[in-house]
């Protein structure tokens, strides 16, 4: 019985866990290793670390973090944020991360996806997409730099291109929904999930138990991700999974 994954995301700045609401206001809330291990105990299927450290000096802290996390965490984890080169992939994977998520750098130079997939395998290349509904309401564009810059590129087109270049998974965040707790963008999720043959992780907007069920049943997501909701224990991972199971979604409990 293959199961739908429930994935908590930890935003990390200079080696400390924070959570941005709509990517702007940050709250400091703990040690990444402890948080990740606690999530494993709480029933998380994977953990995603999003490094938002701005300074290049601070970049080394993420490598130290990966090394420490890998000693204690025995479920898969993904590291994203600020990944620019195949060498960045190598360093993160070598220290024990299972997957690397790449966003802006892949938009600027799509070949990075192919190079990383050829070198390390598609299974560890996650393409993170920040998508926002166009004003004409006829689709979604992808955004650069944590959602600040509209590229004008269509999200569906980009997702398909990422797949053909060798991405193993898509981490799809709705910029419209992120931080609102009003629910995932089900239409966006379904549009992308139905168009590609690689798993899609739905992200952005989770606020209630029903939202997770909607993302899977209507959005066709292969995995669901949330950050602050789990981090501030507004919902427990087990509670989410139990509710999904009660709604006939296969989960690991």
């Amino acid at each position: 019985m293959h199961t739908i994954r429930v994935i908590p995301c930890l935003d990390v700045n200079n080696g400390r866990v924070v959570k941005g609401v709509n990517f702007v206001n940050l709250r400091d809330a703990g040690d990444p290793v402890e948080c990740a291990v606690a999530y494993d105990r709480a029933g998380a299927d994977e953990v995603v670390f999003l490094d938002i450290t701005a300074s290049s000096d601070g970049r080394d802290t993420v490598v130290d973090m990966v090394r420490e996390v890998a000693k204690k965490l025995f479920i898969p984890f993904t590291v994203g944020g600020g990944i620019r080169t195949v060498d960045d992939f190598k360093v993160i994977l070598r220290e024990g991360a299972d997957k690397v998520a790449v966003n802006s750098a892949a938009i600027k130079r799509p070949e990075l996806i192919r190079e990383a997939a050829e070198k390390f395998g598609s299974q560890c290349v996650v393409v993170a997409i920040d998508a926002k509904r166009r004003e004409a309401n006829d689709g979604w564009n992808i955004y650069l730099n944590g959602g600040r810059v509209d590229t004008g590129i269509d999200a569906l087109k980009w997702a398909k291109q990422a797949e053909s270049l060798g991405a193993g998974e898509i981490l799809l965040t709705s910029m419209d929904c992120d931080g609102t707790k009003a629910g995932f963008d089900v239409e966006l999720t379904r549009t992308i999930a139905d168009a590609v043959n690689i798993p899609v992780i739905a992200s952005g907007g989770a606020g209630t138990l029903d939202h997770f069920v909607e993302a899977v049943k209507q959005g066709h997501a292969d995995a669901v991700l949330a950050a602050s909701l789990f981090h501030f224990k507004e919902l427990e991972i087990k509670e989410v999974k139990q509710y999904m199971r009660d709604n006939d979604i296969d989960v690991r409990l």
Binding site: I4, F74, I75, G96, C124, I198, R252
Partner: protein, 201 residues
């Protein structure tokens, strides 16, 4: 002491750290004399079948692995490390695998409406009780990441299966040879128990 075969495959550290967390002494090496002296040997692996066989060949590890197996040293293949033990893979037509166990590696069919690779947790069924599965019930979940899967020739080798559109032979055991398609080092408590069972052999 457990030796992990170093042939530039990914995720070697994860296996090392999981074993260390269980209090085991681990060495990552491709040195023949060290590998032949180890109490147990693990062949890890993430990546492509063809590349991996090329690396094993380049480092002279094919004959070393065959010696380890002949010496009856407990040997565990993980993920690609399982696939390499068999005869061939659709991922690399024409490339011979180690051929230590009979069977072939095939690609998931694309017409079942399932995402490829299979990424995620799937439950195990145990057609034969394996030594690595002591204390592990049917229905327990482990973590898989793969696009190709094993069709073993001899069902008596198969100790765990999982369903993903097709029946995947998820773990095999024969004499001193053990292998898992899933990642025990990434399968939380269940996975650590499997590794502990290997350590305790």
């Amino acid at each position: 002491m457990i030796a992990i075969i170093d042939y530039d495959a990914g995720n070697i550290k994860s296996v090392e750290k999981a074993l260390q967390s269980l209090g085991e002494e681990v060495i990552i090496t491709r040195d023949e004399s060290v590998l032949l002296l180890a109490d147990k040997v693990i062949l890890p692996g993430v990546g492509a079948f063809g590349d991996a066989m090329e690396r094993l060949n380049e480092y002279g590890l094919i004959s070393v692995i065959k010696k380890i197996v002949e010496n009856k040293t407990p040997f565990l293949g993980i993920c690609l490390g399982l696939q390499l033990l068999f005869d061939s893979s659709e991922e690399a037509p024409g490339v011979k695998g180690l051929g230590i166990l009979p069977g072939k590696i095939v690609r998931f069919p694309s017409d079942r409406g399932l995402k490829i690779p299979q990424i995620g947790w799937n439950s195990l069924t145990q057609p034969n009780k394996g030594r690595l599965f002591k204390g592990i019930d049917d229905g327990e979940f482990v973590y898989f990441v793969h696009s190709y899967y094993l069709m073993a020739e001899d069902m008596s080798d198969v100790v765990a299966t999982t369903e993903y559109g097709v029946t995947v032979h998820a773990s095999v055991e024969r004499d001193n040879i053990f292998a898992c398609q899933f990642h025990p080092e990434k399968s939380s408590d269940v996975g650590l128990k499997i590794l502990k069972n290997f350590i305790d052999l």
